[in-house]
């Protein structure tokens, strides 16, 4: 088996699949599931599912307001999860960790709270052509509401950020630079420390969409140089319904609240309210209590492997898949070909076959991939395709999966008579 020979770490790939119950699921093809859609959402290890069930079964109560033991227990676990997240990304303090639903809400929170109080009609907001809609549409809305101008850093033909274009945008002194660390649509890894450095040097507040990086590589906010970082639990083996906004303490302190209601207040009268301290100021109402503990379990699991190991494994799979698919006739690959600039996400197009049809036939072969615009329509427009097929890797994938993918591509080409 190709997969077993090439795997560099015993702890990744096939050996880990036993931890993920989904791989017990039979597929219509009769073969084991090859799950290549982790960029959309990751599968869950038993440890995460168990942690959730444990919380609900024996440690559940509302948080933040209870005096009885069960609620103190629930609160300690919820706030303990915040400390886990803070440690995982190297935050100075758990106070800088705001729990939200997902990366999308995290970015909206910044656009509404920081944006509407700091951006005016003469200001400039800069995003890039590489962004997921989550890091684009909220800024369009901010600019529409405030009259500010939105500009986009160009990308190159091989899907990289055009740093010269970034520099020239920065010369105009934008208030906000919103940029992704890793593109979900093309897999591009941006030179993020350089980008944040340039952005902050130009006086911009830098918002990093780390939805595709935190799950897949070491990330340390102390070194990153960003002001805000957004990511989702569900892409990093954690539950759905929980995501994270990290922000610099001083910024969070100065920002007005976004959603309002219980827990986020210090004192309320009929006519007005004073706000609680951060991060609770930004967590109105009952949060995703158990889901936070599930996210902490996911972090434990990832730390058990080591984020360096996760990244190394995906880098190796990328190299193998890029050369395997790149050598197949009728297959066009998108994005940079340097493995240091490309995460474990491969977007491709088959000549004469629409990505939806590719994904359908791959599915019949037991290979789960995503087809579509990957919530990055402007990027698709930029590359002149309506959509692509995307295979994305995580720690439970291996070289065998790449062979299954390659075989299924051939099968697709046979159906369409292009092979």
């Amino acid at each position: 088996m190709v997969g077993l020979q090439h795997r560099s770490r015993a702890v990744t790939g096939a050996a880990l699949r036993a931890d993920f119950p989904v791989f017990e699921r039979p597929t219509a093809s009769g073969r084991r599931l090859v799950y290549l859609d982790s960029a959309a959402s990751a599968q869950k290890p038993r440890a995460v599912i168990e942690a959730l069930a444990q919380t609900y079964a024996h440690h559940y109560a509302n948080v933040h307001r209870g005096i009885y033991e069960l609620s103190v227990d629930a609160d300690a676990r919820y706030e303990g999860a915040r400390r886990s997240v803070a440690a995982f990304i190297g935050a100075d303090s758990p106070r800088e960790i705001v729990f939200v639903r997902n990366a999308t809400e995290a970015i909206n929170l910044v656009a509404f709270s920081f944006g509407r109080s700091n951006v005016g009609r003469d200001d400039l907001v800069v995003t890039t052509e590489l962004e997921h809609h989550a890091n684009l549409v909220p800024w369009q809305q901010l600019c529409a509401a405030t009259g500010a101008t939105l500009a986009h850093v160009r990308s190159t033909d091989d899907g990289k950020l055009d740093l010269d274009d970034l520099r020239s945008h920065l010369e105009r002194g934008p208030k906000i630079l919103a940029v992704s660390h890793v593109s979900n649509a093309l897999g591009t890894i941006n030179p993020i420390a350089e980008v944040t450095g340039l952005g902050r040097a130009a006086g911009a507040t830098v918002v990093v969409d780390a939805a595709q990086s935190v799950p897949h590589m070491p990330l340390n906010v102390a070194e990153l140089g960003a002001d805000f970082v957004a990511f989702s639990g569900h892409k990093m083996l954690g539950p759905s319904g929980i995501g994270v906004l990290w922000g610099r303490r001083a910024l969070l302190d100065a920002m007005p609240p976004f959603l309002t209601g219980g827990s986020m207040i210090r004192r309320v009268t009929l006519d007005g309210a004073e706000w609680n301290e951060v991060p609770w100021k930004f967590e109105a109402g009952t949060p995703a209590i158990a889901e936070a503990t599930g996210l902490a379990a996911a972090i434990d699991y990832l730390e058990g492997i080591g984020m360096d190991g996760v990244r190394a494994h995906e880098r190796e799979l990328f190299i193998a898949a890029w050369s395997r698919l790149g050598n197949m006739p009728g297959v066009r690959l998108l994005g940079p070909d340097d493995p240091d600039e490309h995460a474990g996400v491969i977007s491709f197009v088959l000549d004469g076959i629409h990505p939806h049809d590719v994904a359908t036939i791959l599915d019949r072969e037991g290979v789960a991939v995503r087809a579509g615009h990957h919530c990055a329509q402007p990027l698709m427009d930029r590359h002149g395709v309506p959509a692509t097929t995307r295979a994305s890797f995580y720690l439970y994938n291996d070289h065998d999966d790449i062979e299954r993918l390659a075989d299924a591509i051939v099968a697709t080409q046979r159906v369409f008579g292009t092979a």
Partner: protein, 144 residues
């Protein structure tokens, strides 16, 4: 392999019927599949006297399912009145397509239908309800 990509589907995909743009046209509309960004446009010419469809043409890019579905549907439209167009049942469109369509390809299979409804009504219409068209059991969301 395949009960979805039958030969006639692939033939319609490669050589769709009633392809192109009518100019001038009495009705026209364009819409897209939010999942993949596929865009399809329709132009319709009506008989001056009866107001019935004289000619119809689809134009755009898309997958085999959406192209074949529009192509097959286009063969049935000539001679229909606007009321008849409006009354087309999306279930009939799926039946005419003749291959099993599940939730995953629901929008692909009905993009042509939706664009045609937009042309007839002169305005964007909602996607048909999956639960109604496919039956509750197989119905998922109809969002991108």
């Amino acid at each position: 392999m395949d009960n979805l990509y039958r030969d006639f589907i692939l033939e319609h995909y490669r050589e769709p019927h009633h392809r192109g743009v009518l100019d001038p046209a009495d009705l026209s509309f364009a819409d897209s599949n939010p999942t993949c960004g596929d865009e399809l446009a329709v132009t319709v010419r009506l008989e001056p006297d009866s107001g019935r469809v004289a000619e119809v043409a689809f134009d755009g890019r898309g997958c085999a399912i959406s192209q074949a579905s529009a192509s097959i549907m286009s063969d049935h439209l000539a001679g229909m009145s606007l009321d008849e167009l409006r009354a087309i049942d999306p279930r009939t469109v799926l039946d005419d397509l003749g291959v099993p369509i599940g939730p995953a390809r629901f929008k692909c299979a009905l993009l042509g239908y939706k664009v045609l409804q937009g042309a007839v009504r002169g305005a964007m219409t909602d996607w048909p309800e999956e639960a109604e068209v496919l039956g509750d059991a197989s119905a998922g969301g109809s969002s991108p």
